[in-house]
C-alpha cells in the first residue's frame, strides 16, 4: 500500500517534472499573475508599464522569452550593460564632473558679477546687468574665466533624465530614481541648490535606489543640494549656546592654559550671518522623508532635531569657502569634519542636551548625533508605513489596499528598509495584478513622453523640444518648488489645461511636429501598409498599447479616425483652392514613406494658410491613439 502510493507519487512527479520546475522557478519570486487571470504576455506588459517606462515594440516577446521572474531579477540587479545609453550620454559635458567642479564652472550670475567687480572688470557704478554694455562686459569676463551659463547645466540635467528614461536598459533603476528623487525632492527653482541638483541625483539618489533606505537618507542629508534647499546649511546654535568647539576649547583650556587664552585656538571665521536654528530640514525630514505627517512627532521634536543638525553645512567653492578651508586646517582637533562638499562645523553645532522621540542625547555630542537621529527615524515603524504607502501608491494604485500596505510595511521592518525586497514584495503581491489596479494609474507627463517615444521606437536627436512638452503638460523637470515633490495621484496630473496638452502632444508627436524626434511609422509595422483607416487603427493601437483590451478604445476611435481622414481631405482641398502646396501625401494608400519625410526637416511653426505639409492620415490615427484616454493610463 505504502510502496504503491510512493510509486504513484513518483510517477506523478516524473510526469509533472518539467512543469514542476517551472512552477518552482515561478515561486522564487512567485509573480501571481495567473491567479489574477492574466496571460504571461499580459503580465509582461504590466511589468513594463510599471517597472519600466512602457514597452518598446517587440519587448514583450523578449521579456516572455527571458521569463518574467528572470527579467525582474535582472532589473533588480541593476547591472545590464548600457551600450546605447552610454553613446547617447557621451556628448553631455557635466555628467562626470564633481559637484565642486560643476559649482565652479557654472556660477550663478550674482557670483560672476561680484567677482567681476572684485577684479575690476566692471565697477559698482556700472549700469545694471540687464543693460547691454554691462552684459557684454560680464559675458566676456565669464568667457575668459571659462564659466558656462547655468542654463546649459540645467539643460543637460533634463536631457540625461529623458535619455535614460527612453534608452536605459536598467528600466527599474530609472523608475526608482524618478520615485526617490521626488520623495527627497530638491528644486532647480532654488538658486542656491541649483548647481548641486545634478550631483544630488547622481551621487545621493541613484547609487542607493536598489540598496537600503538608510543609505538614501544618509546621502540626501549630507548633500549640498538638500542642505541648501531646506536651509540646514544656515542652521546654527543660537547665540550663547554651548557648541562642540566652545566645549572642547573650554576643556582643553582648563587643562592646559586657562580660560583667557582660548581665543588663540583660531576658530574659523566666515560664520553665517544669521544665527539660530532653522527648522525646515528637521521638519521635512520627519514629515516628508521618514515618519510622515501623522508619524507621531511633536513641534518640540522638530526643534530638537533641528538642534541636532546644527553645524551640518556645505563647503562652497569660491573665496569664502577657500578661506574657511584654510582656517579649518588649523582648527585641528576641535571637532570639525569634512567629507567632500559636506562640512560639519563644530563652532555652530549646538552641544547641549536634546530629547528626541523620547530618546535622550546627552550634552557634548557632535556630528554623530545626526547619524543617530537618522538611525532612529529609519527604523521607526511610522517610517516603514509611510514609505510602504508611497511605494504602493506609485506602483499599484492611488488608493492601495490596506492589505498591500500592511505587507510592505512588514517587509520594510523585517529587512530594515531593503528597497529591493520591497519591489519584490510589490510584484509578488496579488494586489499588484488584480483587475482593480490594472491601468488605474495616470501616467505623469514624463511617463507619457517616455512611453510614447519608446512605443514609436523614436530616435531622440535633440531632446529640448520634447522636454518642453513635459513642462507644458505640467511637470517641469527638477523644478517642483515644494519639498513634497510632485503629488502622485491622478487628479494632480489631469487638469483641464494639461489634458488638452496631452492630446496635442499625441497629435504633434505622431505628425512629426516635435523637432528632434525621428521615427518611422511604416517600419513599426514592418513596412506593411494598412489597407484602410480601420485597419491602421487596429494595427497601430495594438502596437502602441500591446496586450491591452482594446475593445473600448477601438469602438471609440473608429469614427474619430474617419472624421480626421475626412477633415484632412477637406483641408487639403481647401488649400489647393487657394494655393499650390508642395506634394503632400493625400490618403493612406498613396503614401510610401509615412511621416519619415516630415521628420527629416525640422518643422517650422505652423501658420494657417502657409504651405505646410499635411500630416498623413496614418500619423493622425497614431496621434489620436497617443492622445486617447487609454494611453494616459498605466
Amino acid at each position: 500500500m505504502r510502496i504503491r502510493s510512493i510509486i504513484f507519487l513518483l510517477a506523478i512527479l516524473l510526469f509533472l517534472g518539467p512543469f514542476a520546475s517551472a512552477a518552482r522557478l515561478g515561486h522564487r519570486t512567485g509573480l501571481p499573475y495567473q491567479e489574477a487571470g492574466l496571460t504571461q504576455r499580459q503580465a509582461a506588459a504590466i511589468l513594463l508599464d510599471r517597472f519600466a517606462f512602457g514597452a518598446r515594440p517587440g519587448e514583450i516577446d523578449r521579456v516572455v522569452a527571458q521569463g518574467l521572474e528572470n527579467w525582474l531579477e535582472e532589473q533588480l540587479s541593476g547591472n545590464r550593460p548600457e551600450h546605447e545609453l552610454v553613446g547617447r550620454l557621451a556628448p553631455l559635458k557635466t555628467l562626470t564632473l564633481s559637484s565642486r567642479e560643476i559649482a565652479t564652472a557654472y556660477p550663478g550670475p550674482g557670483t560672476v558679477r561680484a567677482q567681476a567687480i572684485r577684479e575690476g572688470v566692471i565697477s559698482r557704478n556700472d549700469p545694471p546687468t540687464d543693460r547691454a554694455e554691462t552684459r557684454q562686459k560680464l559675458q566676456a569676463f565669464a568667457q575668459r574665466k571659462g564659466y558656462r551659463p547655468q542654463r546649459e547645466l540645467t539643460e543637460e540635467l533634463m536631457t540625461q533624465k529623458l535619455l535614460r528614461g527612453v534608452y536605459s536598459e536598467n528600466r527599474l533603476t530609472e523608475v526608482l530614481a524618478d520615485f526617490w528623487y521626488n520623495h527627497f525632492n530638491v528644486s532647480i527653482t532654488n538658486n542656491r541648490a541649483r548647481p548641486f541638483v545634478l550631483s544630488y541625483e547622481r551621487d545621493a539618489i541613484r547609487p542607493h535606489v536598489l540598496g537600503h533606505f538608510r543609505a538614501l537618507l544618509h546621502a540626501t542629508a549630507k548633500h549640498p543640494a538638500m542642505l541648501l534647499y531646506l536651509d540646514n546649511a544656515q542652521s546654527t546654535a543660537s547665540n550663547g549656546t554651548m557648541t562642540t568647539m566652545s566645549q572642547t576649547t573650554k576643556r582643553r583650556g582648563g587643562m592646559r592654559r586657562g580660560e583667557e587664552s582660548q581665543t588663540k585656538e583660531e576658530p574659523p571665521k566666515g560664520r553665517p550671518s544669521q544665527r539660530g536654528i532653522n527648522e525646515n530640514y528637521a521638519r521635512e525630514l520627519m514629515e516628508l522623508h521618514t515618519l510622515g505627517v501623522d508619524g507621531g512627532y511633536t513641534q518640540q521634536d522638530v526643534i530638537e532635531v533641528a538642534r541636532v543638525f546644527t553645524g551640518w553645512t556645505v563647503l562652497l567653492p569660491g573665496p569664502r569657502g577657500e578661506r574657511l578651508q584654510k582656517h579649518l586646517s588649523r582648527a585641528n582637533g576641535l571637532g570639525f569634519a569634512g567629507d567632500g562638499d559636506f562640512l560639519f562645523r563644530a563652532d555652530t553645532h549646538d552641544a547641549t542636551q536634546k530629547i528626541i522621540l523620547g530618546e535622550t542625547f546627552p550634552p557634548g555630542g557632535g556630528m554623530e548625533e545626526g547619524e543617530r537621529v537618522l538611525d532612529i527615524l529609519a527604523r521607526h515603524p511610522a517610517t516603514a508605513r509611510h514609505i510602504a504607502t508611497k511605494l504602493a501608491v506609485r506602483f499599484v494604485s492611488d488608493r492601495p489596499a490596506a492589505s498591500l500596505v500592511d505587507r510592505l510595511t512588514q517587509q520594510f521592518q523585517e529587512t530594515a528598509g531593503d528597497l529591493r525586497a520591497l519591489v519584490r514584495a510589490i510584484a509578488t503581491s496579488p494586489e499588484f495584478w488584480q483587475e482593480a489596479a490594472r491601468r488605474s494609474k495616470i501616467k505623469s507627463p514624463f511617463e507619457l513622453v517616455t512611453s510614447a517615444l519608446r512605443a514609436l521606437q523614436a530616435d531622440v536627436e535633440q531632446p529640448r523640444p520634447v522636454i518642453e512638452w513635459v513642462t507644458r503638460m505640467g511637470q517641469p523637470l527638477y523644478a517642483y518648488q515644494a519639498p513634497t515633490g510632485y503629488p502622485d495621484r491622478a487628479e494632480a496630473w489631469v487638469n483641464t489645461g494639461s489634458l488638452l496638452n496631452r492630446m496635442n502632444f499625441g497629435l504633434h508627436l505622431a505628425a512629426g511636429r516635435i523637432p528632434g524626434i525621428v521615427f518611422d511609422l511604416p517600419t513599426l509595422n514592418r513596412g506593411r501598409e494598412p489597407e484602410s483607416v480601420e485597419a491602421a487603427l487596429e494595427t497601430y493601437a495594438a502596437l502602441v498599447l500591446p496586450e491591452r483590451d482594446l475593445t473600448e478604445t477601438l469602438r471609440l476611435l473608429t469614427p474619430v479616425a474617419r472624421d480626421l481622414a475626412f477633415a484632412q481631405k477637406v483641408d487639403k482641398a481647401a488649400r489647393r483652392e487657394t494655393e499650390v502646396s508642395p506634394e503632400a501625401p493625400s490618403v493612406l494608400q498613396d503614401q510610401s514613406t509615412g511621416v519619415a519625410a516630415d521628420d527629416e526637416r525640422p518643422s517650422a511653426p505652423v501658420r494657417e494658410g502657409s504651405t505646410v505639409t499635411m500630416p498623413t492620415p496614418l500619423a493622425h490615427v497614431v496621434g489620436v491613439i497617443l492622445g486617447a484616454p487609454e494611453f494616459q493610463r498605466r
Binding site: 557704478n125 489634458l499 481622414a565 477633415a567 477637406v570 489620436v624
Partner: protein, 421 residues
C-alpha cells in the same frame, strides 16, 4: 472665387460622398443648431500681481518728509517739490509721495479706489528671494513643506460650483500660490489653449471634436470629467469677447509680459468665463545696481506696473465692480543705498489694492522714522503689518471667505481693514 466657408459647405459634402459611407459626426453636429456655451454666473474676482525680486517700497511710496531719507539715500531720494517738474513725486498726503513713474495710478488713488499699505512684510526675516516668495505664496512664513498655496486654498473655500476658468495664472508654469487640490490653470497664452494639431483649421476642429467624443465615452471617470471641463473651457474661449477681443477704448496695455498677462485676465473676466482668482507676475524688481530715480531700472518697472494696472482697470469697464486687484512682493529693500547706487534685500515694502469696494485714497500702515535706531537691525524698514492681515482682508471680504485659518494656517492675527464690509 469661393469663400472658404462656401467651399466647406458644398465641396466638403461632395468629398465626403466620394470617400466614406455614413455621415461624419462633425458634419451632423455642425448641421444641428449650434448651442452657445452657457455663461458662467458673474462672480467676484481677485487678481493678484506678484512683483518678483522685491520692490523697493521706499522708492515707490517714499515718506518724503522724513529728513533721514536724503541722508541715507543721497543718490536715490526724490522730492515732491513742484520745482522738480515732471520728475517730482506726487504728494499723496503731505508725508508720503508716489514715484513719478507710477503717476498713471494717481487718478485711481484720488477717486479712492486705490489704497496703499506700507510697512507690509513677513514675520520671517529671511532675505532670500526664493524663501520669501515661497513663504508668501504658501501663506506660511517659515514653513516650506506646506503643500498648497494660499490662493489655491482660497479657491477651495469659494463654496460654489466653479467654471474651468475659475483659477488661472497667466504664466508658463503654475505658481506656488496656486499649488494644491483646487483645480487651477497655468496658461501662458489663451490663443494656444485648445486642441491644435499641425494642419488646417478644419482638422483642428475635427480633432478637437473627436477627442471630446472619445473622452466623453471613456470608462475612466476622472479623464471623462476633466475632459468635459477642458472642452467647456475651450468653448468659453470661442466666445466673440475672446476671439474678436479689442481692449476698451483708452486701455493701452504696455507690450510687456505683465501687460500681456493682465490683458488676458481682462479678456477672461469680460467674456464671463467664470474667472474668480487670477494671477499675474512681473519681474525685474531686484534693484541692487543703479536703481535710478526718474529714469533707470526701478522707474522702468514702476512704469510698466502702473500702465498695466491702469489699462486693466479701464479695460474692465462695467466689470470694475466685480474686481479687486492686489499686488505683492516678497520683501522690501535696505533703507540705505548701497555702493552701486542700488539697494539690497530688506524687510518691509508696500503694496497696492485697487477696486471699488476698497476704501482707497489713503496710505495705510505704519512707517516709523528712518533713523537707524527705529529700523530693524539698524538698517531695514521694520514689518509693521503682516502680509496675511492684508491678504485675508482682501480675499476674505471680496471673495466671501470666512475662515482665515484655512487661508493662513497657524496664524491668529487680525485682518487689516481696507475694504468696505
Amino acid at each position: 472665387m469661393w469663400t472658404r466657408r462656401a467651399f466647406l459647405k458644398a465641396g466638403g459634402i461632395a468629398l465626403f460622398a466620394a470617400g466614406f459611407g455614413g455621415s461624419p459626426a462633425f458634419l451632423r453636429r455642425a448641421a444641428a443648431a449650434s448651442t452657445q456655451p452657457g455663461l458662467a454666473p458673474r462672480r467676484k474676482v481677485l487678481v493678484t500681481v506678484f512683483q518678483r525680486g522685491a520692490m523697493d517700497g521706499l522708492m515707490a511710496v517714499p515718506p518724503f518728509t522724513d529728513p533721514m531719507l536724503p541722508k541715507l539715500r543721497p543718490r536715490l531720494a526724490m522730492t515732491a517739490a513742484r520745482s522738480a517738474g515732471e520728475g517730482a513725486l506726487t504728494d499723496l498726503n503731505g508725508h508720503f509721495g508716489l514715484h513719478p513713474a507710477l503717476t498713471p495710478v494717481v487718478p485711481l488713488f484720488r477717486e479712492e479706489r486705490l489704497a496703499i499699505v506700507h510697512g507690509v512684510g513677513s514675520p520671517d526675516p529671511t532675505r532670500s528671494h526664493f524663501d520669501a516668495q515661497d513663504y508668501m505664496e504658501t501663506g506660511t512664513p517659515g514653513r516650506k513643506g506646506t503643500p498648497s498655496g494660499w490662493l489655491n486654498r482660497a479657491v477651495g473655500q469659494l463654496g460654489h460650483e466653479g467654471s474651468p476658468w475659475r483659477a488661472v495664472a497667466v504664466t508658463s508654469a503654475l505658481p506656488r500660490s496656486l499649488y494644491g487640490d483646487a483645480p487651477a490653470l497655468a496658461v501662458a497664452n489663451l490663443e494656444e489653449f485648445g486642441v491644435r494639431p499641425a494642419g488646417g483649421k478644419e482638422l483642428a476642429r475635427v480633432a478637437s471634436q473627436s477627442f471630446e467624443d472619445l473622452y466623453q465615452q471613456t470608462s475612466a471617470d476622472l479623464l471623462r470629467r476633466t475632459a468635459h471641463e477642458s472642452f467647456e473651457a475651450v468653448k468659453l474661449l470661442s466666445r466673440p469677447e475672446i476671439t474678436r477681443y479689442r481692449p476698451a477704448k483708452g486701455a493701452e496695455y504696455p507690450r510687456t509680459p505683465l501687460g500681456r498677462s493682465l490683458r488676458q485676465i481682462a479678456q477672461l473676466i469680460k467674456a464671463e468665463a467664470g474667472l474668480e482668482v487670477g494671477f499675474a507676475e512681473s519681474g525685474g524688481w531686484d534693484t541692487h545696481v543703479q536703481q535710478g530715480t526718474t529714469t533707470g531700472s526701478f522707474a522702468r518697472q514702476a512704469q510698466d506696473l502702473a500702465r498695466a494696472i491702469t489699462a486693466f482697470w479701464t479695460d474692465l469697464e462695467r466689470h470694475q465692480d466685480d474686481v479687486v486687484l492686489l499686488t505683492m512682493t516678497e520683501f522690501g529693500r535696505s533703507v540705505r543705498e548701497n555702493g552701486s547706487g542700488g539697494t539690497d534685500h530688506g524687510r518691509a515694502s508696500c503694496l497696492f489694492v485697487l477696486g471699488n469696494p476698497v476704501e482707497g485714497g489713503r496710505v495705510y500702515g505704519t512707517v516709523p522714522s528712518l533713523a537707524p535706531d527705529a529700523l530693524e537691525e539698524g538698517r531695514d524698514l521694520p514689518v509693521t503689518t503682516d502680509f496675511r492681515g492684508v491678504f485675508s482682508e482682501v480675499a476674505g471680504k471680496h471673495l466671501g471667505i470666512a475662515r482665515d485659518e484655512i487661508l493662513f494656517p497657524g496664524w491668529a492675527g487680525a485682518r487689516f481693514r481696507l475694504l468696505r464690509a
